[in-house]
Assembly symmetry: C2
Homo-oligomer: 300 residues x 2
């Protein structure tokens, strides 16, 4: 089954103590799609400016993505400029230039409207609600958000959360959303807001999934070298949704497997700048690392 | 088989945003022993002052610990005063009063000298070397250390590390010791210093074990409430060594199981102030949580 993603496409300038890249392909929809397309067909809804490099479209096409939902607006593509310190933790944002993304109004092409798996990447919750109104009975809808929307549009965000099956956020966002420092209590509060399950991304420490059935912890493979954390969260979501859409179960076992695939894909993402690593990732590399992940935390 | 620990016994004053305790039982040897005694016999070598409350000795005795190696020196017992912020991360030390601990010279009683399992808690590496010279062919020696000794006595510390089987430190210490930010490379550097295995404690994110046989990750159970992190690392070590001494294997499987027991015990420690929780912990509670730990990261 196919996955529909609505999110951003950007040109990122990324600085780390280990190097720098300028105006490379970025944005939540780009990272998500490159990850999800390892597992299944992906339909993208996003906006780019008239300066968007054709080679990026070529990359998407080479992965078999459906691009009809990518609007081309007159103006410049969304740009982001960030800098990471030696801890490679949360980056310092040196510039956010929304450009054509500022007036993004996601229109779901008719033939996408019965997509079975829908991911609402981190965009304005009002737009996320618009998308929810345009899709027909998906099997599973997941969404992401960020501190900005938790603070600026709490009412709209709560409406989104009430209407999705699954929320995928990081631990700081979970704490802020629930107004509760302890992650277990925070997750319980969030599950009461509506979703069936909550996935809390914890960077190099893996991810936790909370649901009525309990807690699942997927570790993150300790890496030789982390080069650039940009896109880890979005590729986690892409691997997760792709694995679900490709699998035969949305039950507990399918969800756990999907969380593990999410961690595996994210672990590749951070090994090089931008989408460099995942753009050329072979599926067999994913399977090899998946097996290593399973071994990592097995007692026997 | 029995475990010998050489470390500190202290009276701690601990402040957190959730409360405060004054002059309660603390110190690495106390925490370690209370954890290890859940699994096996424990022999303590430490020093207390003549003001050390008899009730604490009573607590040790009630756990069947061998106390002949606790020296009673004239003067005051070691005191530590720390304060945690809302993140319950590394505490701010408000006062360290070494008192009788300043001139601690560990003497291993003759009948302890053939202990099979030896833990050198975080003390001056010169004293750790003294202990190594007093014990006869233990099956396994593990040691802890801290940033202070890495910086002040690197030569002596390297001599200790070369002569122990296992090093148990936290991730910041591993990075500092190896002078390498990436934990995988850091661990490789440290294994080259001599020990068979390295365990890196990562607080609420569990623990990693590195050895020639690969990497093992034990998760830390996400807790309802963390009240006071003091002693988590020492009880991890106590649970680890106790489980090893009580088990039938020092091979890969035995070590992994021991790391998991270490995480289990540490998860209890932080649920209340000081030793309050682990002083009254029932072994069956440990087994129940151990089972929950195994389930936490299982896909099936």
């Amino acid at each position: 089954m196919s996955v529909l993603v609505v999110g951003s496409i950007a040109l990122d300038t990324i600085e780390t103590p280990f190097g720098e890249v300028r105006e490379v392909l970025g944005g939540s929809a780009s990272y998500f799609s490159l990850a999800a397309s390892q597992f299944t067909d992906v339909k993208i809804v996003a906006v780019v400016g008239d300066d968007f490099p054709e080679e990026n479209i070529g990359l998407f096409k080479s992965k078999g993505m459906e691009l009809k939902g990518i609007q081309k607006a007159s103006g410049k593509t969304f740009r982001w400029h960030g800098r990471y310190g030696y801890d490679l933790g949360g980056p310092q944002t040196l510039g956010t230039y929304l450009n054509v993304f500022e007036s993004f109004d996601p229109v779901i092409p008719e033939e996408y409207s019965n997509a079975e798996y829908v991911f609402l990447a981190n965009i304005d919750p009002e737009l996320q609600l618009n998308v929810l109104n345009q899709v027909k009975k998906p099997k599973l809808v997941a969404c992401d958000t960020m501190n900005y929307w938790i603070e600026k549009k709490p009412k709209e965000l709560m409406e989104v959360i009430k209407n999705v099956d699954l929320l995928i956020i990081n631990d700081a966002e979970a704490r802020e959303l629930a107004q509760e420092p302890m992650i277990i209590k925070a997750s319980r509060n969030i599950l009461e807001m509506g979703p069936e399950a909550l996935i809390v991304k914890r960077g190099e420490y893996g991810a936790l999934m909370f649901s009525k059935e309990g807690i699942f912890w997927a570790p993150s493979y300790p890496l030789e070298a982390v080069v650039d954390p940009t896109g880890a969260g979005d590729t986690f979501a892409g691997g997760f949704m792709g694995s679900l859409a490709n699998g035969d179960s949305n039950g507990s076992a399918g969800l756990k497997k999907a969380v593990t695939y999410g961690c595996v894909i994210a672990s590749f993402t951070v090994e090089d700048f931008g989408v460099k690593r995942i753009a050329h990732l072979q599926y067999k590399e994913i399977e090899t690392r998946f097996t290593a992940f399973l071994k990592l935390s097995r007692l026997d």
